[in-house]
């Protein structure tokens, strides 16, 4: 089966630091891959290259069988690359429901100005159904009409997830979804993620420090250290490798 995402030899340099050094990896459709590694290993930079926020200095990214180098970020989103952020990027003034509606409409391309001017931009029943389904999925139905500014961090992470899911991505990039969450929150987030991935056959690339969450959520992990892939394979096998433990627990031993 063709890979949904193939990254080949991507490199990024900034400020005298080689953030990514000829990184290659691929994700099959419907597969969940964990991307782990110490802080500063280049995980978020790699995400930025995939979602189009940063242009790599070398290498190429192929999504769903076509090269997406040079495709602007918003078009990549329309192709089916969804994303959540390590530092929250929610829209404080919108309610939870509005987040989903915005995502839904951006995805379906119904944001034309003339619709607004003819007052055609009310929420239609079938749209309402889809929005409710998403809210239900991420467990935010009871908070639908609360402005996101009034919500806690954990809830905001769910809002970001729901918003990304409303775009029906073929690939979801989840950047440290558990950071700042406590144990229970992390568990429920991992569960939602796993359920959605299986039900929708959506590929997931997960950056995460909480190895427990990674273990629960992915089929395979890739270890990144100082901009390079140093190992990949099944979770327990990879973690047993001495090189990986070293990169994590320090090279001093």
């Amino acid at each position: 089966m063709a890979d949904i995402l193939r990254i080949s030899e991507v490199s990024v340099r900034f400020g005298g630091i080689q953030a990514l050094d000829h990184v290659s990896l691929s994700v099959a459709p419907g597969e969940a891959v964990g991307l782990v590694g110490p802080n500063g290993a280049g995980k978020t930079t790699l995400f930025d290259c995939i979602s189009g926020r940063r242009r790599p200095s070398g290498g190429s990214v192929t999504f769903d069988g076509r090269s997406i180098d040079g495709v602007p970020g918003y078009k990549r989103a329309r192709l089916g690359i969804g994303r959540t952020f390590q530092r929250l990027e929610v829209f404080p003034e919108l309610t939870v429901r509005e987040h989903i509606i915005v995502a839904e409409r951006a995805h379906r391309g119904v944001g034309a100005l003339w619709r607004d001017l003819l007052n055609l931009s009310r929420v239609r029943p079938e749209e309402q159904e889809r929005v409710d389904a998403i809210l239900d999925l991420v467990g935010l139905d009871h908070l639908a009409d609360v402005p996101v500014a009034a919500l806690g961090l954990g809830t905001c992470r769910l809002v970001e997830l729901g918003r990304a899911l409303a775009c029906e991505p073929k690939l979801l990039l989840a950047d440290e979804p558990s950071s700042g969450l406590d144990h229970n929150e992390t568990d429920s987030l991992a569960m939602v993620l796993r359920v959605v991935q299986r039900e929708r056959a959506m590929a997931v690339l997960l950056v995460e420090h909480d190895l427990q969450m990674v273990a629960k959520s992915v089929d395979r992990i890739v270890v990144l250290d100082i901009g390079k892939v140093i190992a990949e394979g099944r979770f327990d096998e990879v973690l047993a490798q001495p090189g990986v433990r070293e990169a994590y627990l320090g090279a001093g031993a």
């Binding site: 404080p92 003034e93 919500l151 929150e185 429920s188």
Partner: protein
């Protein structure tokens, strides 16, 4: 050759004047982190005081210089730092620029109030006399003021360069701008350093002002427009220096001065002259703003210690109890009816014009609501768009006999196209640089686009007739009231549809987080072009109405300060909501009218009133009036909730929010340990919804 030299040489003192401004902007930016648009205003203030001391108080020139430049100016700088800029040190670029715009408006208007408003002719020179020819160079006479300007400028710039390069204080200032926190870790008292940077920058402004005095033959406190050309050249040189290098700023300024003189040589007169000589600085300025890669990331250098600051407070969320909706809706409708009936009947004639003006201003201000409130971009050229609308309507009526209302629509469309072009030019830039681009456009319209007989009409201005539709004649002010109201309501409808519709939500998303919006597939550029075009269009239509009300209108009605005043007024009342624009428009017109009863020196108080509101922008980005309103709404809601509590029914909106908040914790296990009370609760790590959260 010697002819060329004859033009190059006089270019140098001009260049020096530009250099003072440019270097001042760069230094202020580097030592305080603020792009101080009010630098010119500060210079003007110091020059004014200097002149006053010399001629009214009879002080010797050196004493006046010490008092005005070395004592008063730094004192003003310290006050500005203490009460304004130190409070917004860690906020975004937009807050800083709004504050400096507020100052730019307030300072020149304060002067006539303090010292009287009569123009003063032939202001004194600091050192050598202008009338006296000092020496001849290659056959060109060099007068005293040229010598003194050049020498003092060179000396001041060299001293500043040495100070910043070599003295520990200069080093500390640069460090504090980059990161207050990191500087503190090195044992530097960041607050003190920032204060002295403001004092220094103000001395620089004072020096610039006093040196520039002989340049203008008349020092007119009520019309400090003399500084416009200076502002353009200063901006250009500062932009060419990427707001960093003092040397480049200086060189670029001299180059601009010389280039302007040389252009005079090659295009001594005619259309080419105006086009080339006047357009030249703008072409360079716009080219630099749009093209420079390093300007694009200006002010975006992340403070390495940014994570230390607690998350910014959440934006005040709409907190109206839904049960108030119906009474307020009907109240609003009743108000409109009462307004029209009163305007048509019992209101005395001389009060009708300000009411007309209020409606027209409200229309124009709606454009600010759209662009600043909805999309979070700060545009400083809305009055220019209004001018485009007014002149188009007038010219089309005069030359093609087009009905005025149709002309207004065409004018609005023309402004919209201009707005779209501006937004496309700004495709890759945002924040401060975009704001500067709009300012450049305003200055360009001001200094030459509106100066042609085919645009702003030279001299007499353009007359925009009052519309006549069949048997309905809007010539009388009372009839015009109805027309202005209809136009305003149509524009309100337009803005409301956009705000409530998908576009509005996309814009709100963009304002909240650009990366977040892009990750959903929202085309940020398209959204921005749309909102710029619509906003410009509304301003254009409003401008045509303005022209029709006050016909004839000339370029003077749409100068760049008017644009600044517009933005400041709307931001003060509240740029987020439609009623903010209407309140701003009505109160602006009415207060202005009331001040016609006051002595003439107090005429400038209207903008000052609003300018002080803008200075609070950093604390209350939603606007002062809006802030007060939401406080009252909170009170009413609480009162309603208490009444409900006594009756035993469930309080609706507020309680639902509070309960929701509680549940938010419950679902995922108590994410905010201290709990956040009510809807105004505090999120953790949220970027605030201020105009530009990225700044």
């Amino acid at each position: 050759m010697s002819t060329l030299l004859g033009y190059v040489l006089p270019g140098i003192p001009y260049g020096c004047d530009f250099a003072l401004m440019a270097v001042g902007l760069v230094i202020t930016f580097r030592t305080t982190g603020v792009f101080n648009l009010a630098f010119g205003a500060q210079a003007f203030g110091a020059a004014f005081v200097f002149d006053l001391l010399v001629r009214s108080e009879g002080l010797p020139v050196w004493a006046a210089f010490v008092l005005s430049v070395l004592l008063l100016s730094p004192a003003v700088g310290l006050v500005l730092d203490r009460f304004l800029f130190s409070r917004i040190a860690t906020t975004n670029m937009t807050a800083k620029i709004v504050s400096s715009v507020g100052l730019l408006i307030a300072i020149p208007q304060l002067l006539p109030i303090l010292f009287g408003g009569s123009p003063r002719e032939n202001p004194p020179s600091l050192w050598l006399d202008q009338a006296h020819v000092e020496f001849r160079l290659f056959g060109t006479a060099v007068n005293g003021s040229e010598v003194s300007t050049t020498v003092i400028t060179l000396g001041a710039v060299a001293a500043l360069l040495l100070f910043l390069r070599l003295s520990p204080a200069g080093l500390e200032m640069r460090a504090v701008v980059e990161s207050r926190r990191l500087a503190q870790l090195q044992g530097i008292d960041s607050g003190k350093v920032a204060a002295s940077a403001w004092a220094l920058s103000s001395v620089m402004a004072g020096l610039a002002g006093v040196l520039l005095l002989p340049l203008s033959n008349v020092l007119n406190p009520t019309n400090p427009l003399q500084f416009t050309g200076l502002l353009v050249a200063g901006l250009t040189a500062a932009a060419l220096a990427r707001m960093r290098s003092i040397g480049v700023a200086f060189g670029a300024a001299i180059g601009l001065g010389v280039a302007q003189e040389v252009l005079e040589l090659y295009f001594p007169n005619g259309a080419l002259h105006t086009a080339s000589v006047n357009a030249f600085p703008f072409i360079v300025l716009v080219g630099t703003l749009v093209g420079s890669k390093s300007l694009r990331s200006l002010g975006f250098r992340a403070d390495p210690m940014a994570g230390v600051d607690p998350p910014p407070p959440p934006p005040s969320v709409s907190i109206r109890d839904p049960r108030l909706d119906v009474p307020m809706k009907w109240g609003f409708r009743a108000l409109i009816v009462a307004f029209v009936v009163s305007g048509l009947t019992w209101v005395p004639g001389y009060w009708v014009t300000p009411l007309d003006a209020g409606l027209v201003y409200s229309t124009i201000f709606l454009s600010v609501t759209l662009i600043t409130g909805a999309s979070g971009q700060l545009s400083l050229c809305q009055a220019s768009f209004a001018g485009v609308g007014a002149f188009a309507a007038g010219q089309l009526a005069a030359h093609f006999g087009l009905p005025v209302l149709l002309g207004a629509v065409v004018g609005g469309l023309m402004a919209a196209v201009l707005g779209a072009v501006l937004a496309l030019l700004a495709a890759r830039i945002s924040g401060l640089i975009l704001t500067l681009l709009t300012l450049a456009f305003a200055l360009m319209a001001d200094t030459f686009l509106f100066q042609y007989s085919w645009s702003g009409g030279s001299g007499t201005g353009v007359s925009v007739p009052r519309p006549v539709m069949g048997s309905i004649d809007f010539t009388s002010n009372r009839a015009f009231l109805v027309l202005a109201l209809v136009v305003l309501l149509l524009c309100i409808l337009l803005v409301a549809l956009v705000q409530r519709g998908t576009t509005g939500r996309f814009l709100a998303a963009m304002r909240g987080s650009e990366p977040g919006a892009a990750s959903l597939g929202i085309n940020l550029l398209r959204a921005r072009v749309t909102v710029f075009a619509m906003s410009a269009g509304i301003a254009g239509v409003g401008g045509a109405m303005f022209g029709s009300l006050y016909s004839p209108v000339s370029a003077d009605s749409f100068v760049y300060e008017i644009s600044l005043a517009f933005v400041v007024v709307v931001i003060t009342t509240g740029s987020r909501r439609i009623e903010g624009a209407v309140q701003a428009g009505m109160s602006f017109a009415i207060i202005q009218f009331l001040f016609t009863y006051a002595p003439s020196r107090f005429q400038g108080l209207t903008p000052i009133l609003f300018a002080f509101g803008a200075l609070n922008y950093a604390q209350h980005p939603e606007g002062m009036v809006e802030y007060q309103k939401s406080r009252w709404m909170m009170r009413v809601s609480r009162l309603l909730a208490r009444v409900d509590g006594r009756r035993g029914t469930a309080p609706t909106a507020l309680a639902a929010g509070a309960a929701g908040n509680g549940m938010a914790g419950g679902v995922v296990g108590g994410s905010a340990p201290n709990g956040a009370p009510g809807l105004a609760g505090s999120p953790v790590g949220l970027s605030s919804g201020v105009v530009s959260p990225r700044g």
